[in-house]
């Protein structure tokens, strides 16, 4: 649905330029929720703004729904932009227009008949739960309500794609969750392709199917969220995940306090139904190995439960090895840390 080919964006003049993005290749499938995570200044906003050509890339191509947007003239680009909805960190609503008129805005651009606008806006107000607020102005709404208006407005022209530029970064945790749930709802309901950027791993974990990690203008890691989240390869990815679970310092402390000869630190990852099974206790009872839990998480990625335990096995080396083999035989992911 979205395809970026060798996308490069430089800011500034030829002599003094900064490269915000360099040769990005990316594909987002129909109906997918694709997340891009990165630190501040990594190039996330530039990337998502290149997709609807709010920023024109210095080189490379942007394809959306089979159309090369970078090759279009002004008028055609305006037409195709109507099929790409966008929501923003600071909502960017018309402060002089009511909730109703804000949502109707994209429809008035195409001279849609009044009756059609009314029907569409009513449906959208119901979808985002703002029927009672339609005559209010944005200044009278909370942050979460403003973003709901933003989402309704973005959906008004029945877009193929929804772009979210840090859509929850200005919101408190509860409101963030309710907005993320709304995004999941509309993704399911309309099979809408969503691309979002964020600096919070929590957002990726809650809603995304696939994720790309962007660092200094390049993608350093990409894949299904379960894979990237549970087995991060790049340093930057690890930082994001450690911040979300337990701090990296706590992990170091845990590893250093148990560094005895007769023990082995092992990270075990459970995924899906395994998460709630008693596999670990069954196996250690069989091998006679004892364990201490140094660190542990049991949570979900989107709807998928997972658990990740860092344990220290104590006992005879051969028994510990047998424990590890048995764990692997049960299709658990086991990583020996020392």
């Amino acid at each position: 649905m979205i395809e970026l080919k060798q996308l490069t964006k430089k800011y500034g003049t030829k002599k003094k330029s900064t490269t915000a993005l360099s040769e990005i290749d990316l594909q987002v499938g129909k109906g997918e929720i694709f997340g891009v995570i990165g630190h501040s200044g990594a190039g996330k906003s530039t990337l998502i703004r290149c997709i609807n050509l709010l920023e024109r890339p210095t080189s490379g191509e942007v394809w959306v729904n089979g159309v090369n947007l970078t090759a279009l003239g002004k008028g055609d680009l305006q037409k195709h932009r109507r099929k790409i909805g966008m929501i923003f960190q600071h909502f960017n609503l018309l402060s002089s227009a009511t909730v109703y008129d804000n949502i109707a805005f994209p429809l008035t651009l195409t001279n849609t008949p009044k009756a059609d606008i009314k029907k569409k806006v009513s449906d959208l107000l119901a979808l985002v739960g703002l029927e009672d607020h339609k005559n209010k102005y944005p200044a009278q709404l909370s942050g979460g309500q403003k973003q709901r208006v933003g989402i309704a407005r973005a959906l008004a022209s029945d877009p193929d794609v929804l772009l979210c530029d840090e859509a929850t970064s200005a919101l408190d945790p509860q409101t963030t969750d309710s907005i993320l749930r709304l995004l999941l709802d509309i993704n399911k309901k309309f099979n809408l392709t969503i691309m979002l950027i964020t600096h919070e791993m929590h957002v990726i974990q809650s809603v995304c199917d696939r994720v790309a990690v962007i660092h200094a203008g390049g993608i350093v890691e990409e894949g299904p969220v379960t894979e990237v989240f549970l087995k991060p390869k790049h340093q930057v990815t690890r930082e994001f995940i450690n911040r979300e679970t337990t701090g990296a310092d706590a992990l170091k402390l845990a590893l250093s306090t148990t560094n005895s000869e007769s023990s082995k630190q092992v990270k075990i990852t459970f995924l899906g139904a395994q998460t709630y099974d008693s596999l670990l206790s069954q196996i250690v009872r069989e091998t006679g190995v004892n364990f201490a839990i140094l660190q542990g998480t049991i949570s979900t990625i989107k709807d998928m439960p997972y658990g990740q335990l860092l344990v220290s096995f104590e006992g005879e080396a051969s028994n510990i090895n047998r424990t590890i083999t048995l764990l692997k035989e049960r299709n658990l992911d086991v990583e020996v840390m020392n």
């Binding site: 609807n52 709010l54 680009l77 305006q78 037409k79 195709h80 932009r81 109507r82 790409i84 966008m86 923003f88 600071h90 960017n92 609503l93 018309l94 402060s95 002089s96 227009a97 805005f105 994209p106 008035t108 651009l109 102005y137 944005p138 200044a139 407005r153 022209s157 772009l163």
Partner: protein, 222 residues
Amino acid sequence: MWGLDFSMVDWEEMSQAAIDTLKMLGASALLTFIIGLPLGVLLFITARSNSALLRFIYRILSFIVNILRSVPFVILIVALIPITRAIFGVSIGVEGTIPPLVIGAAPFFARLVETALREVDRGVIEAATSMGASTFQIIRKVLLPESMPGLIAGMTITVVTLVSYTAMAGMVGGGGLGDLAIRYGYQRYEKEVMIVAVILMIVLVQLLQMIGDRLVAHFTRK
């Protein structure tokens, strides 16, 4: 009171002068808005354009506006006498004051428009762009409504400025309250007429400012 005798004020002349002032003010304000608003929008759009040609146009427009704004209004009136004659066939009277008033005030108002438009949140303009709005649609549906309070404040300042301009235009024969005040007060030492004329102008300015402030408050949604 203070040796003033208001019985000698010719009220008929006074009301004619007041009507003349309102005529000059109404006509010049209307034309100033009609010319200044598009000019201000043009200044705003060309200033931030990506196209080098449009930015060049901005520099030229900006230069002309600055020149017109730096010429003292009295000099502008005198300098424009030939042009006024060409348009109206007269260079004095109420009609004769319109060209200098408009040429003096329109660049001023255009700058106020430009400043008001700059106050519009960039993000909102960007959101409209992302929804496929054309430049014209952005002007009509985003820039103008969003800057309405600023535009009305700018109009108020412009009209009030025009009140003092009409007084100066009166000096070179345009008529109106300012003309009356100067003729009687300065040339004939009849303070009473001057005082009444000045009070009327003060009341006018207060009224205009009050209406402007009310409208600004009405359109402010932030």
